[in-house]
Subunit: 215 residues, 2 copies
């Protein structure tokens, strides 16, 4: 019989960060997908990196695509939730600044640079439609807030979302990303829309972002 | 005996855009790498898409990596050359604007969205060092010009290069990229650095960019 300590019984010492086997699988897959490549990573390799059998992995995820889907959704869902809880009475510029600030911080906070997987050809498959719809929803939030500032049919309304996602390329290019990057990109998101009195907007946005879990 | 018309004799009708077999191979590989994935594409598949034998492909490129290297270098070398020919007497803001304008235009002009391959884990291998050095050189040109505007140790100096490369994500997300994108991103590159009298800077930059092949 296996002796397990108090709490959730474990048959093995965890090898990876994560409180559950599911979290360990996601961490191992995130590392392999971003450093070795999605196509070149098998579920066997992921199971080996966690130190479990492939059959145990299948208790948590039916396919490798399901693992990728969970990882990708994890990059947008916290920000969608943050946005949904923003006070709608705040001016559009304040909400946009807070959104860009939070979003950049969470893109930078994940242990692996998962945004680098957005451009995988595999992600265009139907199975990833739910993730693509969520990311589109997020892009539309940025666009709506920006349009409230610059007016309709202005191509600059696309820029804040693009600036925030540039954190992905920054992470790919630099071992250590500048700790100021969330603030820098949130500020740039206002500059490209010619927002006035950016210092005041940032003060109010900062108050919405500080204390939020994940920042 | 095979009858060949005037000019370079061809044993087959070309299937792909490109004046030479080498160009056809690059076009087929660019399509397959960006739509199917690099790891999932073999040299056999590329040869099939061109309509040549694998052995003929090896006359032009020794390995699949060599094809990728040629494609990646093709995304930065025209811009490095454009920059090298810019009049050094022009103010930094004008040169930066022209550089961003030209670079975005060339990233958008290529038939396939090759920038989407920058984040491939495979590109971190030693064999791609030459490409990475060229892209770093280009990033440094942007940084130097931006630093001449905002001063040293200002994190905003990174933003123009990031804005220009956001054209890659725009292409990935939209069938048709806004024809104004080069101008929009060139303008945004100035806005994020708080450049004054942007209209005048853009007029001078436009004169440097118009008439350049590839724009």
């Amino acid at each position: 019989m296996t002796q397990a300590g108090p709490g959730r019984p474990r048959l093995r010492e965890p090898r990876r960060p994560g409180a559950t086997a599911r979290a360990e699988i996601l961490d191992a897959a995130a590392e392999l997908f971003t450093t070795r490549g999605f196509a070149s990573t098998s579920t066997r390799l992921i199971a080996d990196a966690v130190g479990i059998r492939q059959a145990s992995l299948y208790n948590h995820f039916a396919t490798k695509n399901d693992i990728l889907l969970a990882l990708l959704e994890g990059t947008v869902e916290p920000t969608i939730e943050f946005d949904a809880n923003l006070d709608a009475d705040q001016p559009a510029a304040v909400r946009l600044c807070a959104l860009a600030w939070f979003d950049t911080a969470q893109l930078c906070a994940h242990r692996w640079n998962l945004g680098a997987l957005y451009l995988l050809p595999e992600v265009r498959a139907e199975q990833f439609g739910r993730f693509r719809a969520e990311r589109d929803e997020l892009a539309e939030r940025y666009r709506d807030l920006a349009t409230a500032i610059v007016g309709p049919r202005d191509p600059r309304a696309e820029l804040p979302f693009r600036l925030v996602e540039s954190a992905i390329a920054s992470r790919a290019d630099n071992e250590l990303v500048d700790a100021q990057l969330p603030e820098v990109l949130a500020t740039a998101s206002l500059e490209v829309l010619n927002v006035g009195d950016i210092a005041a907007v940032k003060r109010r946005a900062r108050a919405l972002v500080i204390g939020v879990p994940g920042i």
